[in-house]
Symmetry: C2
Subunit: 196 residues, 2 copies
DNA sequence: TCTTTTGCCTACCAAGTGTTAGACTAACAC
DNA sequence: GTGTTAGTCTAACACTTGGTAGGCAAAAGA
């Protein structure tokens, strides 16, 4: 058994654990809960993962990777270097991720501190990379002179977190479609960097 | 022992529990953890509270009450009925609350779902009242014709949640003072309702 | 003074926790 | 066929969980 191993069962465990962690929280989800939902016994879980923390990290790393990757893809498709377009694209991918991958988002937006020290540091670093992307964009917007912001750092947090919160309330069956949601958020973000 | 009872020890238990819930989470804080931090044994906790859930609800209700109350106070001091001033005041009190009462904020911004069904419903109702206050303000802004917003409901969530998130990152020792923070957020919120 | 209440204690309970040991079966490699 | 591996199982370990029973000392009320 290696870490990278991906079998049918281990993948099913991952999916199930992700769901349960997102719904009930990491602490109140037991190995036996996960195993039962997959149709095996608790002990068999340990054939696929070394510990409960390992699967948490495994899922967290994946989720952070997906978020970063979706932004990198969008970034690559960006033509020209108009920073406002980058801002729009960044917000768009953020909204889509948090609305579509709500369980993954719930994981990375909440208790990272259940991870071991190294893994926690790793997660914080990955999240920091992502945050820095937005900080650079906002700074570039301001640098054009055509936009202004009361404080770059705080504005970045505000944009990041109003986006992240989508995962906690968005309902695909609700009154707002994903398309509407992305354009609403794009507009809000653009307004936030509007000249004073 | 009644619910409303407030003694020295029970107050100390409340404070300690609030801290531990905010730091470690409700699930991973045991009655014995709380008791030990207060200097009593686990069993003595039950002299002051009927159950673990009771103290969670007790703290949650207080925190929601404090938030609502601080807004009601600010609202009462509002002169004139310029809705933009109300928006500024609402954001201001929200920022101050989430920056100063970070532990209380952490409690109400996370797992309300550990509450019993009735208490959960109560908490959601209280939060709903608070949210509706902002919704009314934003709607009033739009109604003047001098402001516009892509979508009232979503904008309300965005403002509410960028504010709530302050509790997770704000550091009083950090580079931004509370005064600066409030004016940054006021400005951001005002921009968000700027005419399109 | 006697009685009640307050506030804490020790000791316990039943259930659940993450995790390990060791055995078994089925499939695959040679 | 033989050896190895994957994947599961039962059983257990040591410990923690929320909560209870009942007792004991000090204070308060009569």
């Amino acid at each position: 058994m290696t870490d990278a191993r991906v079998t049918q069962t281990s993948e099913q465990i991952r999916r199930t654990a992700l769901d349960l962690f997102a719904t009930d929280g990491y602490d109140s989800t037991s190995i036996r809960d996960i195993a039962a939902a997959v149709g095996i016994r608790g002990a068999s879980f340990y054939h696929h993962f070394r510990s409960k923390e390992e699967i948490l990290w495994n899922l967290t790393e994946r989720a952070l990777g997906q978020l970063a990757e979706s932004w990198q893809r969008a970034k690559a498709e960006l033509s020209g270097d108009e920073p406002l377009e980058a801002l729009r694209a960044f917000v768009r991918t953020g909204v889509v991720f948090h609305a579509e991958q709500r369980t993954e988002a719930a994981l990375i937006n909440s208790r990272l501190n259940r991870l071991s020290d190294e893994h926690y540091a790793g997660a914080v670093a990955l999240r920091g990379d992502y945050e820095r992307e937005l900080a650079d964009i906002v700074a570039a917007c301001v640098a054009t002179g055509r936009h202004a912001v009361p404080d770059v750092r705080v504005t970045v947090y505000a944009i990041l977190q109003m986006t992240a919160a989508i995962a906690t309330w968005y309902d695909p069956e609700g009154p707002t479609t994903l398309d509407e949601l992305t354009s609403i958020y794009e507009e809000l973000a653009v307004k936030m960097v509007a000249p004073a």
